[in-house]
Symmetry: C2
C-alpha cells in the first residue's frame, strides 16, 4: 500500500508538533528511582508530581525504510542536585542510529554503550548530534528554560528502556555550587547494563 | 567497529553545516535539459553559469541502521518561467523514506511515484515533510531569498537520479503573471519514469 506524503508543523520555540498522533507525558512518578537522590524524589512527590518531560510523535510504520519523528520538551528543574532528564534508552535494534537537533534551551546528551563506554555532548539550538549504532542515549536539561529538540531515527529501531532503568548511565549530570558537571553514578556497575 | 558520537552545527539562516565532509555545487550547466525552457537555458549560459543549489553532507556509512544528513540551499531564480530546483531523485532502495525540514525561505516539494502519481507540499520554516517509500522528490525555491532545508534519510537509501533526468516530473512549477502554479510537463510521459 502506497503511503501518501504529509506535512507537520514544528514550533521551534514551544516544541509543539502538529498534527501529531500521540503526546507522551513523563512525570516524576513515571521515573521513580531514576534520579540518584531518592530522598529528594520522595519529598517532591509528597507535595506534587512535576512534569519532567513530554514528547510528541507521529505514528509511522515500525518497518525498515521508514523513519520515526519525535519532538521532546524537557522542563527545567532538578531532583536533588540532578537535572531533569529523559528516561534514556537503547534501540531494540542496537545497530540503529539517531539524529537529535537542538531547537531551544540548553542541554547535554549522555550516551553509553553496553560495554560501559561513556560520552557526552553539549546541545544548543542548531546543534545536531549523531548517535551512532550501539549507543544508548539520554537528554538532560542543564538550563533554566525548557530544552527542546527534534529527533529522527529508523522506523524499525524500537526502544529498549529496561537496561537503562536497571542501573542508569555511568555518569549523572548535577549542579553543585552553581556549576554543572558530570559525576560518577555510584549505582552503576560496569557490564551491568547489558 | 564502534563509531563515536559527534556534533555538527547548523546555521538555520545560511544553511551552513559545519564541519561537513562534502559540499556539492549544482550550477545550471550541471542540470542541462532539466528545465523546460531550453532556449532560456541557452541564453543564460551564454553570459554565465549561475549556481542553482548547493548541499553539504557528512560522509556516513551507507549501511542499514545508519542515517544520512544533508543541508541544502536553493538560490532564488528562474530559467524562463520555471523556478530554480534540485535535480530530484528516487532512492536506490525504493522502499526508503526521507524527512525534510524547512528552515529558511519558501519552497515547494514535488513528489512522484514510478506509476506517475503526483503530489506537492508547500514548505516553510518549521514545516516538516515526510516523504514515504517509493516517492521521488524534488525541492523548488518559490521565493525571492535562498530556500534552506535539512534532510535526514536512511543510511542505505542511495540515490537514483537517472529516472528523473530522463523525463522529469509530471508537473513543473512556474511563475506566470506574478502567480506561482503547477503546470503539466509536456515532456513527461506516464510510465516512462520507471
Amino acid at each position: 500500500m502506497l503511503m501518501n506524503p504529509f506535512l507537520m508543523n514544528i514550533d521551534f520555540k514551544s516544541g509543539d508538533l502538529k498534527p501529531n498522533d500521540r503526546t507522551n507525558i513523563r512525570k516524576l512518578s513515571n521515573m521513580k528511582g531514576m534520579f540518584l537522590d531518592t530522598e529528594s524524589e520522595r519529598r517532591i512527590l509528597e507535595s506534587g508530581d512535576p512534569l519532567i518531560y513530554s514528547f510528541s510523535e507521529k505514528v509511522l510504520p515500525e518497518e525498515p525504510g521508514h523513519l520515526q519523528i519525535a519532538m521532546t520538551s524537557i522542563n527545567p528543574g532538578k531532583v536533588g542536585q540532578e537535572y531533569y532528564m529523559t528516561k534514556g534508552h537503547y534501540h531494540k535494534l542496537a545497530h540503529t542510529s539517531e539524529v537529535y537537533l537542538g531547537l531551544e534551551g540548553r542541554g547535554c546528551l549522555l550516551m553509553q554503550t553496553g560495554d560501559g563506554i561513556f560520552a557526552s555532548l553539549d546541545i544548543r539550538p542548531g546543534v545536531l548530534a549523531y548517535i551512532p549504532p550501539f549507543w544508548g542515549h539520554r537528554m538532560v536539561n542543564t538550563g533554566n528554560t525548557p530544552f527542546i529538540f527534534f529527533a529522527v531515527y529508523p522506523g524499525d529501531a524500537g526502544h529498549n528502556y529496561g537496561d537503562i532503568e536497571k542501573t542508569g548511565f555511568a555518569k549523572i549530570l548535577v549542579e553543585r555550587n552553581g556549576e554543572t558537571f558530570l559525576a560518577n553514578n555510584p549505582r552503576w556497575k560496569k557490564g551491568s547494563s547489558f
